[in-house]
Amino acid sequence: MSAEPEAVSRAGAFLERVGTNGIHLFEEVGRFFYILHTTIYWAFRRPFDGREWVRQMVRVGVDSIPVVGLTAMFTGMVMALQTYRGFERFHAEGYVASVVALSLTRELAPVLAALMIAGRVGSSLAAELGTMRVTEQIDALYAMAVEPVQYLVVPRVGATTLMLPPLVAFANGLGIFGGYSIAVGLLGANPVNYWDKTFQYLDLNDVFSGLIKAAVFGLILSVTGCSKGFFTTGGAEGVGRATTSAVVMASLVILVSDFFLTKILF
């Protein structure tokens, strides 16, 4: 007889956890869209802080070149190596170049670059804004009649969204070069033939949809990072939590939205 109330209370506890997590999820989504909405609201109002935009674009764009470049180059190299070994089995080595170029521009360069930037920039946005929140610097901005979203979030989100496409274009180039160097240098492919095949099946549309993806990922990861930081509570520990969850959330949302974007764009 006593097993029944216990089962009921266990079910109750389970439902409570589901409910709490559900509410938590709704809160997160709400905060994301709140930051997105206020960012758009304040983006087109004076004053426009050009210097801060440039500073953030350097921070997101220029400073990320090494990490994005290395990621793309080695991805291209691995792609060439793997597809060559596979395609060799049915004498289709000639198509390695096409596969490398298509998969990089359409999928791998935007997603991997966005994930790297989520780790590099998304986390630092969350940590920076989170620290400003817990040390009352964000309140101080409000108190000085400066809208913190306009001063802090708008240039960061804008810079990240604008800088991701050029970074991905750069990653495309380096990735294709990586594939070329392995196929030609290591596996003995014909350089002229490889180069021809790279562009034979590659549409401008493939490249553009990759760049559109990149911009959307940039928006997602910067808004996630900023909203995590902006609503940080609980001191230094809270800043740590915000930073970690900014990266995890941004990465997950990038991967999920990648599917839907691919479905829409192709």
Binding site: R45, P47, T131, M132, T135, E136, Q137, D139, A140, Y142, A143, M144, A145, V146, E147
Partner: protein
């Protein structure tokens, strides 16, 4: 409540007898805990109003309501006849221009040095030239008795200096109302004394309205024209410093003498 009719008296214009700040029936709760339960207060133009109370009674929450950093659950905050709680975000920012606020730990921007911190609101809100800004920054630092610290990083400053740089930044735009959040907390008695005299001097020089929250009674008696006690979410007493000292309320007497309450000891 004499100010009850003023709740919808927007645009009446500031008159000499209009309180600069009127708080009408202010309620606020966090996560189900009621912090403010019907606060009513009025601060006259040019008055130095000090709110005292124990730790965690919601003094900071009340102060942050005055400048719109926290939105109330219920009630009105009237600044110069204009209801802050009914204003749109852009109007809210304009109303905040009347305020200067000094935060507990200074809340200085750690990405800037002392000069840039004080110049920040000037650059943001005025068309002053760099020369005028430099002069104004020196003037503000002179008022708080800090010279030659312009180029210091904020993390090189002691606690007392941080507060005073915070004061200098708060008065940079010549606000009509100054808010001080625990200006003495965590300072040694001598530095606290210096901070108190800086506050008194600033008031004599600037003739502004001041609202200070503190639990340091010594400081309260030094700087106040009127002292109010916040307890259990309400203003339970409000009187001139002399009258406040002779209030018969046992809680206030214990508070003044720094003795524990029976309920706390038990």
């Amino acid at each position: 409540m004499a100010t009850g009719t003023r709740a919808n008296g927007r645009g009446a214009g500031p008159e000499q007898d209009t309180p600069t700040i009127a708080v009408i029936d202010l309620w606020k709760s966090f996560a189900g805990r009621e912090v403010l339960r019907g606060v009513n207060l009025e601060v006259a133009r040019g008055e130095s109003f000090v709110i005292v109370g124990g730790s965690g009674v919601g003094k900071s929450v009340l102060l942050k309501h005055l400048i719109g950093l926290i939105a109330p659950d219920r009630g009105h905050i009237i600044i110069d006849g204009e209801d802050l709680t009914q204003s749109d975000p852009v109007r809210c920012l304009a109303l905040r221009r009347k305020f200067g606020m000094s935060f507990q730990e200074g809340a200085l921007f750690d990405s800037m040095n002392v000069f840039e911190n004080i110049a920040f609101p000037l650059r943001r809100h005025t068309a002053m030239t760099e020369g005028e800004i430099a002069a104004r920054v020196r003037e503000c630092l002179g008022l708080v008795h800090l010279d030659g610290v312009e180029l210091k990083a904020t993390n090189e400053l002691s606690g007392g200096m941080r507060r005073r740089v915070g004061f200098a930044r708060a008065i940079a735009l010549q606000p009509e109302i100054l808010l001080f959040d625990e200006p003495n907390t965590g300072l040694d008695p001598i530095t606290a004394g210096v901070v108190n005299s800086v506050i008194v001097e600033m008031r004599e020089h600037l003739g502004v309205t001041m609202v200070t929250i503190t639990h340091d009674m010594k400081s309260a008696f030094r700087i106040a024209d009127r002292i109010a006690m916040l307890r259990s979410g309400r203003i339970v007493a409000s009187a001139s410093p002399e009258a406040f000292r002779s209030l018969s309320d046992p809680y206030i007497q214990k508070f003044l003498a720094g003795e524990p309450l029976e309920e706390d000891v038990a």
